[in-house]
């Protein structure tokens, strides 16, 4: 029956070999990329995720932009800047030829109003904390002060923007790669509704105005986003792509098939089994490179037996991280023996977890559970996803083998899982952290007392102090020394158990030129261009 059906369908479809979208794109400089999901919002102040960021990078230009090769800050909307010797005052000189896509000049006042908007309490921007290095920004954002003039943002003239920080922030420029720092066309936003209305329709293609190299043309939910080269962009002649299609395919298998059939130039995060296949059989189509993220297990230190540091350490020492990265993940991930990914802005932690089953057993015995006897029921909580499950299953077996303890696995639907974490209602919880910017603080600040993402019940005064020290000094050596000490404490106290460091796996056709891998996987669309494959 189905055979007949298929034959009919084929007659109807009957097209045979056709030029693929990718081949067409190569001719017309139209890039098609898989974007991992449907962007929730294209308002830089509201957007939070990777799919949003990828599109926003093409639509808006912050003061600086990330060089695709090495992530060094390149002049974006600002053509130059000065930093005061104490590292507190930044003065940016905007380009005179900076234009919004409606032709208006991009002015320093635009930046002031944009930052004002991000920090407005009534907007409820989730990533407003990215602007907290600015003096009084946090206080304003939390409603403690209401006069924005007190915040360290000032337009000295139309093309000079002065930012005043509340303390030294050496990584400030790399923070500016984040969307929260993008300027937005406040006048346009006001035209379409309230400035602090999250649902303001100004990001619709028909209303959209941006200052980036591309401008939004189409946005069909769950279908595609199309951006076109912006003629008003100051550096438009360097932009070689004419169009970029962002395909919102959430399903990794679907995206991989689209890549294989020539519908996408590039696709990130293919299914693990496919990564292994490509690496083995089609290495020219896949790039695997470090990604600024760590996969960890959080340990609830308020619950016995995990309130005992020895138990936590025993658990962390009794696993074979290499087996996990090599057999389960198989996409070049590195085993994580500490929290901050190696070489994050030149920082690599010197304290490592020692994997040693017998020492782990020893520790467990000292904690009162010789050979796992009387070890109470401990649950590993994770949200439902194939990889999380496989890792949990593998760890469970390792603990059983090495420590003779029975750990129960418990999967929950995503939001229920988040809720359990937030309420510290778990024993061991899976967690992953992708750095917001390239600096160790984005990882180490997580576990300070009162950090919203701590969620382990762990609190250590010395650790908090070291993190504060690092935050308040501009001296790189002193900062990194403080980080080393802090991370050593973390690895000794073990409220978290690092498992592996992320890699990004990207399927990418050789016809895509000018693209370089980097640890935050930022696109530099200005440098990307397409060259048809010769064959």
């Amino acid at each position: 029956m189905y055979l007949t059906l298929l034959c009919l369908a084929l007659l109807a479809g009957g097209c045979g070999k056709h030029e693929t979208l990718v081949e067409i794109g190569d001719r017309t400089q139209e890039l098609r990329i898989g974007n991992e999901g449907e962007p929730a919002s294209l308002d830089p102040a509201v957007a939070t995720g990777v799919p949003e960021h990828n599109v926003l990078v093409s639509l808006f230009e912050s003061l600086v932009f990330a060089d695709g090769k090495d992530l060094s800050p390149r002049p974006g909307a600002a053509e130059s800047w000065e930093i005061s010797p104490d590292g507190i005052v930044y003065t940016f000189h905007l380009r005179k030829n900076g234009r919004w896509s409606n032709g208006d000049p991009v002015t320093a006042q635009d930046f002031v109003e944009s930052y004002h908007r991000v920090l407005m309490p009534s907007l409820g921007s989730q990533y407003s904390y990215m602007l907290y290095p600015l003096k009084n920004a946090e206080a304003f954002n939390l409603g403690k002060i209401t006069n924005f003039n007190e915040v360290g943002v000032k337009a000295l003239d139309d093309y000079t923007l002065q930012l005043t920080l509340h303390s030294q922030t050496p990584y400030l420029l790399s923070m500016m790669f984040q969307d929260s720092w993008d300027p937005v066309p406040v006048a346009v936003i006001k035209k379409h509704g309230a400035i602090d209305d999250r649902t303001n329709p100004w990001t619709r293609p028909e209303n959209f105005v941006g200052n980036g190299p591309f401008v939004l043309k189409e946005w069909r939910i769950n279908s595609h986003i199309l951006v076109e080269k912006s003629p008003t962009y100051w550096d438009a002649k360097k932009v070689r792509l004419n169009k970029i299609y962002f395909d919102p395919t959430e399903d990794a298998d679907t995206a991989e098939r689209m890549f294989r059939s020539g519908q996408l130039h590039s696709d990130t995060q293919p299914p693990p089994s496919k990564v292994a296949f490509y690496r083995k059989n089609k290495p020219d189509l896949i790039k695997v490179y470090p990604y600024l993220g760590t996969y960890i297990y959080k340990l609830n230190v308020t619950r016995p037996p995990l309130n005992d540091k020895r138990v936590r350490k025993a658990l962390a020492m009794a696993i074979d991280r290499n087996a996990i990265t090599e057999t389960i993940l198989r996409a070049g991930q590195e085993p994580a023996y500490f929290l901050t990914p190696p070489d994050t802005a030149g920082y690599t932690c010197q304290t490592k977890i020692k994997e040693d089953a017998s020492a782990a057993r020893q520790l467990l015995a000292e904690a009162g559970y010789p050979d796992g006897k009387n070890f109470p029921t401990v649950e590993v909580l994770f949200n439902t996803l194939q990889t999380h499950k496989a890792i949990a299953e593998a760890l469970q077996q390792m603990w059983k083998k090495n420590l003779n303890v029975n750990i129960v696995l418990h999967n929950e639907e995503w939001k229920v899982y988040l809720d359990s974490l937030r309420q510290t209602n778990y024993f061991i919880g899976r967690f992953a952290w992708i750095g917001d910017y390239v600096d160790p603080s984005t990882f180490l600040d997580l576990f300070t007392t009162g950090s919203g993402n701590n969620e382990t019940g762990w609190s250590n005064a010395e650790y908090d102090r070291l993190c504060r020290v690092a935050a308040n000094t501009g001296n790189r050596a002193a900062r990194y020394d403080a980080f080393q000490k802090a991370e050593a404490i973390l690895m000794d106290e073990m409220p978290i158990m690092p498992i592996y460091f992320y890699t990004q796996a990207r399927l990418i056709r050789p016809d895509v030129h000018g693209w370089y891998p980097n640890v935050i996987d930022d696109y530099d669309f200005k440098s990307i261009y397409l060259v048809p494959e010769k064959n």
């Binding site: 298929l6 679907t254 967690f431």
Partner: protein, 305 residues
């Protein structure tokens, strides 16, 4: 008949009310909020965001407010997609699901009914066993297997279709087949059962005695009785098919409504859940009404009721 339909319409009002109320309170009881994410936001900001959507008001007040909006036909904004209203999302994505659903239904009905009728006519012959065997396989092979298989064969190896997407007419073929095959299998089995029942009736013998040919017997005499089980089955099924399939839409990257039914719940997108549930409820009841009307129309004896 008109009175019957009017009465059914009136009946839907309390039903929708109950569904809306139940959905509202179920959603609010469910752990996890719309603004939870792996990166925790500070409580202050969370409070701001909730206030933005009126989620800070007392629960009952929220309920009344939402009911008021619903009565005005306003399903509210989406939390997940700020800048889009639920009405708009449904209006955008439903036509896609509707189109795919209709195509899938055509596939399902044409092949399901044909296979079922042939099988019942030629009971216990190869004409029975082969289509029914295929139908059983069709039921065993879930859409999340069939879809990738079809893509693999016809898009990746033969290169006749795109692997995913919803742009060209030929993009409809594989999804419609995938979605339709499953229901075709169901319909084939139910149809065969229904027809076997009917073909054994005396009046079929009468029709044959009149000299009616196979087609005439089948379509004029047996069809009405034979498809009764199929019609009952189709009521809720059509509603499900036309409002979109999460799995098929995901596999084929189709911008339809089906995904929202599932993702809205996962995202705790309260208004989106409410909107999609009510939309679906209306659809279910409309389809069931149509199915009931068809049942009555097919069966004159029931017209007295």
């Amino acid at each position: 008949m008109l009175r019957f339909i009017t009465r059914r319409f009136l009946e839907t009002i309390p039903v929708l009310f109950i569904i809306a109320t139940a959905t509202f309170f179920m959603m609010r009881l469910t752990p996890g909020g719309p603004f939870d994410s792996e990166k925790q936001v500070s409580p202050e900001i969370r409070a701001r965001m909730e206030a933005h959507y009126g989620l800070d008001k007392p629960l009952f007040q929220q309920y009344l407010l939402q009911m008021k909006h619903l009565l005005q036909g306003d399903l509210g904004p989406s939390f997940k997609y700020p800048g889009r209203s639920v009405n708009e999302i449904i209006a955008d994505s439903f036509p896609v699901s509707l189109e795919l659903g209709c195509e899938a239904l055509v596939v399902a009905l044409v092949f399901g009914l044909a296979a079922g009728m042939v099988a019942s006519l030629k009971q216990n012959s190869a004409w029975d066993h082969i289509p029914m065997g295929l139908a059983m396989i069709g039921i065993c092979v879930p859409t999340f297997v069939l879809g990738p298989l079809l893509i693999s064969a016809f898009a990746l190896h033969l290169d006749w279709f795109n692997a995913a997407g919803w742009y060209f007419p030929r993009d409809r073929v594989l999804p419609a087949l995938t979605l339709g095959a499953y229901y075709a299998a169901y319909i084939a089995r139910l149809c065969r059962g229904g027809f076997l029942e009917v073909l054994n009736q005396d009046y079929i013998r009468t029709a044959r005695a009149k000299g009616a040919g196979g087609a005439q017997v089948l379509f004029k005499h047996a069809l009405r009785g034979g498809i009764l089980p199929v019609v009952s089955f189709l009521g809720p099924t059509v509603a499900g098919v036309l409002t979109g399939s999460f799995v098929v839409e995901t596999i084929f990257g189709i911008p339809g409504l089906g995904r929202f039914f599932v993702t809205a719940a996962f995202n705790r997108d309260y208004f989106m859940v409410m909107g999609s549930v009510l939309f679906y409820a209306c659809f279910v009841m409309a389809c069931n009404l149509v199915a009931d009307v068809v049942l009555v129309w097919l069966n004159p004896k029931m017209r007295f009721e």
